[in-house]
Symmetry: C3
Subunit: 302 residues, 3 copies
């Protein structure tokens, strides 16, 4: 899990994902010749901070977002959220502006959020939770498991994938916006009819740690029943532990597949976490393992 | 109105519209040779659960959504809404999971919604109001007049239509998502500049039963004035009873025409109902008749 | 500033922008031969009420919306907002329906908005604040500075622009909807990678009158950091007064660039106003001048 450790230590708040893209590019170029199939790699300014891999003859695309929630400095030591971070009194935030590295604490007053850094922070500087990784035999706990684990899953999938798109998207935590051009690109390059969203979901009263990867029947949006039935049948056949999620809220890159001008079925499949969008998100390692196995099985059989 | 009766008895909650699509396909194939113009029919997995008819040389497209509001089973006998159904204590819901048919009652507790079915319902099972149709000389009352009447209107239009697209869309009640690919398809196949939304609207303090079909000047969204003027002039000329609607809220497939990457004018035209999204939606038969006549006139003259 | 005076006196509430488009078309055709580069002009029904100018070989597009906020007559003397106008007791509204010109006052009762016109106003008639322009040495005050000044800036830019798209969009105040087809058009005609949003922003606790044009690091949406860095570096080099804006709310045509199926970077750059969406919006003339100079510099150097 060395690579996971590295992924967790890179900052890439929505809108400022360049460092993560460059890390992924470097890692993939170094590794891809050892993979079962060497993918075609799409990377560079025309893809903004996204990264696209094409393996063989894709029937299905996997999307993993590389951005995280965070904060941005405003005026007079104010902070405003990027995405939906938990507002935790005293949480340690880190970042960097032109004057140097930043490490400060968050505090709130009159329902506004502030930092306590000793000097003003340049306007518009992104900050994110300080990382603190704890792994034991059963759980992994860290900031940004959402969606570092989704990236990790996608990279593990790359090792053995024969046919498929693997797409690293940006901006997911803050309303999206890269999916439309990513979808246009892959649909014009080599169209597919199916998409899986490699992302992390929530532990709720029906989705529990250790019960397997969650296959989401719905969040705020509803994938097409016909496709869900196909996924669930394959999941049964796979013998990989899984649990069915039915939520009224939440969204993912799947939303943008749904509203795209392409008839692409989609499904969110990912391990559940608790302490969502805090510095101590927590996922059961067995659920991450199920996620990896499930993606391997589905991408071969869908 | 035999066909309307059949339409009203098919369940097709958003995301699970396959039964309706298959019914429509079967019906259309059986009837279309008796229509004035035999349309070209687009149907199958590449259109998901949508269905598209092309008559002659289209200048205008008519959109009728085939999905309905409903509920989905969650965990521990909980239900969550699909679209915006009225939450009515004791309302009878029907559906089916792998264990068999379901008929149960809705109840609420602590602002959560539950069913009272004697056994657990499989996670993610769609349920909808039990149908109960009442027709007298003046009114039709049933669940899902929205948008079974819009479908009915589209099918009546098919009988005499010479030039036009007739499109059966999905997911309208739950945020949409099929319109973008439907619009892309028709704009690449045979582009048009005008769209009419065949759907059912609300009785309000300005839109009344029996006053004719409603031509909507706006709901949450605002069609282009230049097109509305053209529609209203034709409506005047048609001598079909109509009323003008001006609302601040609500939406339709027109929203997705507005936000599409095509310069297509759109207008919502449909009979008004009261008891919206309940099991006893109610529409004046004369308004439905005006709707049918208005579509016939507009599609010939736009 | 004669042309600004004319712009301020044309009514073009969202959805009803025809008068403004025709004015701009007339003005541009009359002037464009005196400009440094004569643009190619795209105008007509296939562009709805939008207008597009292509200068030389565009690398960047400038978008200025031509619509304004306003009101629409409903039933029984009710009004509903178009966009987000301030609801000001006694504000004078003007418009016209088939019975003639309208001038009336707005009043509220039980949280509903009404007009006091002596006769009923036709359903669906757009109304807007009566114009009242005050210019002194330091400030300009009027209704609709948002976005008449953005249009004015775009027209000033046209005089010397060598390479670039200048696009006049509609519907921005009411959710948008013309940007998707405008973007498709320009990306198919002559693609670009950069977009500037010529619009007016807010005076806040960090963005003040007289401090220069605001370069927006974010509103509700977040442009890509890599592009902001480039803009800010050029802004520094330009020596034009500017200030950096960081807001949590608000949106612009930039939103639709972000969510378009094209990898186009965008940034909102505009003078700040106070009394937003009232009849007495106020902008410092020096900030407008900075806006004009900044656009000239950026369009030449981006």
């Amino acid at each position: 899990m060395d690579i996971l450790n590295e992924l967790l230590n890179i900052r890439s708040v929505s809108g400022d994902e360049t460092a993560m893209t460059e890390f992924l590019h470097h890692h993939i170029v170094k590794r891809m010749d050892s993979w079962k199939v060497t993918p075609k790699l799409y990377f560079g300014p025309q893809y903004h901070d996204c990264l696209i891999l094409k393996f063989g003859n894709p029937r299905t695309a996997v999307f993993a977002h590389i951005d995280t929630i965070g904060f941005m400095s405003r005026y007079e030591n104010q902070l405003i959220p990027i995405g939906g971070p938990e507002i935790i009194e005293g949480a340690v935030l880190v970042g960097e502006d032109r004057l140097g590295p930043i490490r400060c604490k968050l505090f709130t007053r009159d329902e506004q959020i502030f930092h306590d850094f000793a000097r003003p922070i340049e306007r518009g500087t992104p900050l994110s939770f300080e990382q603190n990784i704890e792994i034991d035999g059963e759980f992994i706990q860290a900031a940004y498991l959402d969606n570092r684990l989704g990236i990790y899953n996608a990279l593990k999938l790359c090792e053995t994938l024969e046919d498929g798109w693997v797409v690293f998207s940006t901006y997911e935590e803050h309303g999206g916006g890269s999916m439309p051009f990513l979808l246009k690109f892959i649909m014009e390059e080599h169209p597919i009819k199916q998409a899986l969203i490699s992302d992390i979901t929530w532990v709720t009263d029906g989705v529990l740690h250790g019960e397997g990867v969650a296959i989401s029947i719905r969040d705020k949006f509803i994938p097409r029943r016909a496709f869900l039935n196909k996924i669930i049948q394959l999941a049964e056949k796979s013998e990989v532990p899984y649990q069915l999620e039915v939520e009224a809220n939440g969204g993912s890159d799947g939303r943008e597949v749904q509203f795209s001008p392409y008839a692409i079925d989609w499904c969110f499949i990912g391990a559940p976490e608790d302490n969502v969008h805090t510095p101590y998100e927590r996922v059961a390692i067995s659920d991450l393992e199920s996620m990896i196995e499930m993606y391997r099985f589905l991408m071969a059989n869908l």
